[in-house]
């Protein structure tokens, strides 16, 4: 019999702070957006500060919390040392805060913040790999855990080299190293993790069955190859190699989208809830990011590339995360507070445990903000971009309120 994870499930008090602080970082990053202009360069320190606030503070924080719960589910073994998550949280939280302050105000803080994040991520990756070693399973999701953590380590090392370079402690080509770093973390860790866990979570929540996994298996191979090609191309300064890597990754992402389309066609559950809306919006923005990215690269219009990155991270990655938070957080709260009462008294259903109106407001404000902000970046319109940022901030407020209500349900 397949023995899955309730014995291995980490306690709510360990996981909940990752989601709570992740959402707070999201709120701060939406406030910060109000102070940016749609015309910028990637070399700007304030842009680097915002990107780290959003990607490390929100995206990585929430992913780490989710992994604490999901890794035992997919590997079917308990964590090697689950208590390290108590250390990872402050290392990541304080490290990101110091890095963002360093980017915005005090560059000399960068190596210190970077070091804290580096240690936190090394601990995370090492624990994940140690847990992986205990498992005998070799499913696609298990393979993505292995590869994504390997890329995470490469991303951390290149990021730390950049921090030392910026502080004048190490002589490195910061621009090329930056490309390797961004690609290893964003493509190698975040996108691979999303691909692997989509295969578990999307069919689970949509009750889709009986689909072949050919496309996602091929997507996985194309993406891991693409990331490796770009990473080494950037590290050794070979432009043609990087282009080949971009193309390889793009093919992988398109194959992934075909797999999701196949799953969506077999979806049994047709409820138009916050999760379903978020998934549709997420894949819509991913498609927009691909189209804009291709147009931007072919025409050389940098504003289109900016919009593509915007739709990828604030649209796709963000919606994938927030949509799943409305499923994962009620489940964790239910598991902790209500599962022991099953059979003894009436317990709530999971869909009753999140505030539906606040969730709906979060979705519509955020979706409007992403679209307006994207158009603002494309047309380099300050008004449109600021309007988008304002909607996003309102959406972030509703997300923060929803998170507090979900976490305090039944307390």
């Amino acid at each position: 019999m397949k023995a899955v994870s309730s014995d291995f499930a980490p306690p709510l008090k360990l996981i909940a702070p990752f989601f709570k602080y992740g959402v707070i970082f999201y709120l701060f990053s939406m406030i910060a957006l109000l102070f940016f202009s749609p015309e910028f360069s990637y070399a700007q320190m304030d842009i680097a500060g915002w990107v780290h606030l959003f990607l490390l503070g929100f995206v990585m924080m929430v992913i780490f919390g989710a992994m604490a719960q999901l890794i035992p589910v997919v590997l079917e073994v308990g964590h090697a040392v689950v208590d390290v998550y108590y250390i990872i949280l402050p290392l990541l939280g304080v490290g990101v805060s110091a890095m963002v302050y360093g980017f915005w105000m005090m560059p000399s803080l960068l190596p210190y913040g970077g070091l804290l994040v580096l240690v936190g991520m090394i601990v995370f990756a090492a624990e994940s790999l140690a847990t992986l070693k205990k498992s005998t399973l070799r499913t696609l999701t298990v393979k993505t855990v292995a590869w994504s953590n390997g890329y995470l380590l490469l991303g951390i090392l290149t990021g730390f080299a950049i921090a030392l370079g910026l502080a004048g402690e190490l002589s490195v080509d910061v621009e090329m190293m930056l490309k390797a770093h961004v690609y290893a973390v964003l493509g190698g860790y975040v996108i691979l993790t999303i691909i692997g866990f989509s295969l578990i979570l999307i069919p689970m929540f949509s009750l889709a069955h009986g689909f072949e996994e050919d496309y996602i298996n091929r997507a996985f191979k194309w993406v891991i190859s693409g990331v490796a090609i770009v990473f080494f191309g950037a590290l050794f300064g070979i432009g043609a190699m990087m282009w080949l890597g971009y193309l390889t990754t793009l093919i992988g992402v398109i194959l992934y989208m075909i797999q999701i389309y196949i799953i969506a066609k077999l979806t049994v559950r047709k409820e138009w809830d916050i999760w379903a809306k978020s998934m549709v919006f997420a894949f819509g923005t991913l498609a927009a990011a691909i189209v804009l990215g291709c147009v931007g690269f072919l025409t050389g219009k940098e504003s289109f590339i900016h919009a593509a990155v915007w739709f990828l991270i604030v649209g796709f990655i963000s919606s994938m995360i927030t949509g799943h938070l409305y499923k994962i957080v009620p489940f964790l709260v239910w598991f902790e507070r209500f599962a022991p009462l099953v059979g003894k008294e009436k317990v709530p259903m999971l869909h009753e445990m999140y505030p539906k109106e606040a969730a709906s407001m979060m979705f519509w404000f955020t979706a409007t903000g992403v679209v307006l902000g994207g158009f603002g970046l494309m047309g380099e319109s300050d008004i449109l971009f600021k309007a988008g940022a304002s909607f996003l901030l309102a959406g972030a407020g509703f997300l923060y309120s929803s998170m507090n209500k979900m976490l305090s349900y039944g307390k």
Binding site: K2, V4, S5, M204, L207, V268, R269, E271, F331, V342
Partner: protein, 102 residues
């Protein structure tokens, strides 16, 4: 001879509700069989709607406890199988309608 019927076992299991979808396991079509021997030992054969279900162990425990509440029952075993794989056609009509699968 045992007087516990398969219907009684299914009735007992129908008190177990999947908290994600809000239906009981019997109307979801997740309970494949209940084998009752002469000593009233019960062997339940069931599946789950997804192999990665994080509630796997809990649900099987709830099924065991629900059957154990039947008066006169002996040992209760719950076996989870993945063949045949569950699909929506195994669920009751009201489940299909509510989920939108019709």
């Amino acid at each position: 001879m045992c007087d516990i019927t398969k219907e009684a076992v299914f009735d007992a299991i129908s008190t177990v509700i999947d908290p994600e979808v809000g239906f009981n396991l019997v109307e979801m079509g997740l309970i494949y069989d209940a084998i009752i021997d002469d000593d009233c030992n019960v062997h339940v054969v069931m599946t789950l709607s997804t192999q990665g279900c994080p509630l796997h162990q809990m649900i099987t425990q709830w099924v065991k406890e629900a059957v154990e509440r039947i008066e006169g029952v002996g040992e209760v075993e719950v076996e989870v199988v993945w063949e045949p794989a569950w699909n929506i056609s195994m669920a009751d009509e009201n489940v299909k309608k509510t989920l939108g699968g019709l």
